[in-house]
């Protein structure tokens, strides 16, 4: 069983919208699929929409950080959008501050962030 989350492409941006609670294997599959598609589609940006996610535990949190790092190495940028306030509070208290992961409040702001010059996004 290896269900996969669809990755959409809009121009140079890959868009993933996580719509339901993921099994660990699906989380790992997503990480690999994104790395592959950044290269095969020559993407410059990745948006991961987690609006629908009610929780982000350390496993998913680590995936988000890993995708951000992988995309950086592959000359692309990742923005995580739509994190719920309760999820943000819980993640920080859990001890995961997602350093190195760019975030935006919604898809529109995330796309705008990707359009900014690289220097203003990278820390």
């Amino acid at each position: 069983m290896s269900e996969r989350i669809p990755i959409l492409r809009i121009g140079e941006t890959l868009l993933v919208s996580v719509q339901f609670d993921l099994e660990d294997q699906m989380v790992l599959n997503l990480q690999e699929d994104l790395a592959e598609q950044i290269v095969s589609k020559a993407a410059r940006g990745v948006i991961i929409d987690i609006t629908a996610l009610e929780i982000v535990d350390s496993f998913v949190g680590r995936m988000l950080a890993t995708v951000a790092a992988i995309s950086r190495v592959l000359d692309a940028r990742t923005v995580v959008v739509g994190m719920r306030p309760a999820v943000a509070i819980t993640l920080v208290e859990l001890g995961l501050s997602l350093g190195g992961v760019d975030t935006a409040l919604d898809l529109e702001k995330g796309l705008a962030k990707l359009r900014q010059p690289t220097s203003s996004v990278l820390r």
């Binding site: 099994e23 929780i55 535990d57 680590r62 509070i89 001890g95």
Partner: protein, 140 residues
């Protein structure tokens, strides 16, 4: 100590044998957290803590089970979950409770992070005798 299970509401036992079980456990804890009227933030914290501990049971304990249900004490309601495995146990509990320390490939936030997310946290373990972690989150 784990608070007494609420009268008339028997706790349920869920297996932790494969990673797909974590999804079911998160759903079950979510339903219980809503039933006991935890705030949205507290629901999120309890589900997240349960997810961390269930994954620990699976990865470090070699699988096991969780018993979850409603609890009540002193007129308060809450959710409790008891994670049990018969794995190798934890030789150095202080070390295992330290942020960032892991014996596996994880981030080392499971135990220490889960403790911060709940109201009551109890760890019983001994080398060769498995590990039991009990957590409770109370409605405010």
């Amino acid at each position: 100590m784990t608070a007494p299970w609420a009268a008339g509401e028997d706790p349920k036992v869920y297996p932790i044998a494969r990673s797909g079980d974590l999804v079911h456990i998160r759903q079950a804890i979510r339903a219980l957290a809503q039933q006991s009227r935890l705030s949205l933030v507290d629901q999120t914290k309890m589900i997240t803590a349960a997810s961390e501990l269930a994954r620990n049971t699976l990865i470090y304990g070699g699988g096991g089970k969780v018993t979850a249900g409603l609890v009540s004490a002193n007129g308060r309601r809450g959710v409790a979950a008891v994670f049990e495995d018969s794995g190798p146990g934890i030789p150095d509990v202080d070390q295992a409770m330290t942020d960032g320390w892991t014996s596996g490939g994880g981030l080392g936030l499971g135990l220490s992070g889960a403790r911060r997310l709940v109201d009551d946290f109890r760890l019983d373990t001994a080398p060769g005798e498995g590990t039991t972690v009990s957590i409770t989150k109370w409605a405010r």
